[in-house]
């Protein structure tokens, strides 16, 4: 493999030697492979990534703090950009770093931030986006997209491609729309709202949050959802041909398809609901400890 830009791989340390003189802007551009891997790490501020039709990665970095260090390293196959804050603290709102990137459409993207927002547009390669308290907004096409946030929000807009989309939240929300194929979502106390076309695999779980998923199921789809005390709602677009297996330890089950849940014991509040709708084929399994489960076709 030829690495054309190896000569450019020296780190650029942009820590300003002069005392705080306001924001500093750094621009960098390199030629890369169409499916280059771009790794970005920022502390606070933002990471904006836009796809373009050039085999180039362009970075415009605006650093507000003279304590931050910007490291830029590039080869033909990989570009690595990191804002490092050696002294740790991430609290001062005036110390943001804004990274604006243009990357090839087929780039593979890995972005990690602490409290910086992540905004990605038009990237068709695999995306792995993670933040602690920032927000994540991106689009999915055919490659896998994974987004993780602790207290931030996640928004993923599909474009009809058959992507595997994964979201993981703690207290924030995940809004996923327009995707096709597979979705996996986890949330502790936040919420998940997702719509999935021709779903083949759905997995969603929460501790005390809210899951609201709308989907039309492929003939052999597998759906697994669970909550401890949160609410789970699954709306399936007709025609519905699925086998349902719903179980609750002490929560409630609402079913608009007709069959009523039955008690699992005379002595405990548990209930379960097993039935086949239409010709069956798809499989839906939902369980809760004390939460609410709702399944419906509207």
């Amino acid at each position: 493999m030829t690495i054309r830009n190896l000569v450019l791989s020296a780190a650029i340390l942009a820590a300003a030697a002069a005392p705080a003189a306001g924001a500093e802007t750094i621009t960098k551009k390199v030629t890369v492979a169409p499916d280059v891997t771009v790794e970005v790490s920022n502390v606070q501020g933002s990471v904006e990534v836009t796809a373009w039709d050039r085999n180039e990665v362009q970075l415009v970095a605006e650093l507000e703090s003279n304590k931050d260090e910007l490291e830029f390293e590039a080869t033909e196959r990989m570009v690595r950009i990191e804002v490092d804050r050696p002294h740790g603290k991430y609290h001062d709102d005036e110390d943001d770093a804004y990274l604006t990137l243009h990357v090839p459409r087929g780039a593979r993207l890995i972005v990690d931030t602490v409290s910086a927002t992540i905004n990605v547009s038009g990237v068709r390669g695999e995306q792995n986006l993670q933040t602690v308290s920032g927000e994540v907004e991106t689009q999915s096409f055919d490659a896998p997209v994974s987004a993780t946030a602790v207290s931030g929000e996640i928004a993923i807009a599909g474009n009809g491609g058959k992507a595997v989309v994964t979201t993981e939240n703690v207290s924030g929300s995940a809004m996923v729309s327009g995707i096709r194929g597979s979705y996996q979502g986890e949330v502790v106390s936040g919420e998940i709202r997702a719509s999935i076309a021709k779903a083949e695999r759905i997995e969603a779980s929460t501790v005390s949050g809210e899951i609201d998923i709308s989907a039309d199921l492929a003939p052999a789809a597998r759906v697994e959802m669970e909550s401890v005390s949160g609410t789970v709602s699954l709306k399936i677009k007709p025609p519905v041909n699925a086998d349902f297996d719903i179980e609750s330890f002490s929560g409630s089950i609402e079913n608009c398809f007709g069959p009523k849940p039955r008690d699992t014991s005379k002595y405990t509040p548990g209930s379960e609901l097993n039935f086949t709708q239409g010709s069956g084929g798809a499989r839906v399994e939902i369980q809760t400890l004390s939460g609410e489960i709702s399944i419906c076709d509207r």
Partner: protein
């Protein structure tokens, strides 16, 4: 004259007890947890493969993790039953506000799983105070939510210890706790300090 029965009693078997005896003694977890947990603790190697490496930081981190691990293992091995979780001993730290989830006696979590959690927790504690105050509050609140869930599941498991559903929910809560720590650690480490 009163007759006092003694010796073995040949009463007809209780049908409820007979049913209970037919229940499975063990429930195999729906999926292998340890593989994904080990990957997370190892710093998500599939993502870190192409990253540069700083030996001094790695050695220091390795020594710290090994020390904590050895101490926890020693403490846990002193107890008689090595398969069940014992109350987690939380080391004195500058920030006592982080209270990890204590999984109850019915959880079935192994020493290996708890030690793994505590190794990740030690790295999480290093990063916690660097976060924004509102993020720290959100994390504390959600750890409390997971604790409440773990307590509810444990109480339910006491009533129905063979329930596969309850074990699955417990494992889900454990994974959520690990995920929380992991996200903070990997995001805060940046690219170059990650091992």
């Amino acid at each position: 004259m009163n007759t006092i029965p003694f010796g073995p009693r040949n009463e007809p078997p209780d049908p409820l007890l007979a049913k209970a005896a037919e229940l499975p003694k063990d429930v195999v977890p729906a999926r292998d947890l340890w593989t994904s947990i080990a990957a997370r603790i190892a710093g998500e190697p599939q993502r870190a493969r192409s990253r540069s490496f700083r030996w001094p930081a790695a050695l220091a981190a390795g020594f710290l993790v090994a020390s904590v691990s050895a101490l926890l293992t020693w403490g846990l091995m002193r107890d008689s039953d090595p398969t069940m979780q014992k109350p987690v001993v939380i080391a004195e730290t500058p920030d006592a506000a982080i209270v990890p989830v204590n999984y109850g006696a019915n959880s079935g979590l192994t020493v290996k799983e708890i030690v793994a959690r505590d190794e990740l927790l030690a790295r999480f504690r290093e990063k916690f105070n660097e976060l924004r105050p509102e993020t720290r509050v959100a994390i504390q609140k959600n750890l409390a939510i997971i604790q409440t869930a773990a307590n509810e599941i444990d109480a339910a498991l006491a009533k129905d210890p063979a329930s596969g559903m309850l074990k699955s929910l417990l494992i889900g809560a454990y994974k959520q706790e690990l995920q929380l720590y992991s996200t903070v650690v990997t995001s805060s480490d940046g690219l170059t300090r990650r091992t």
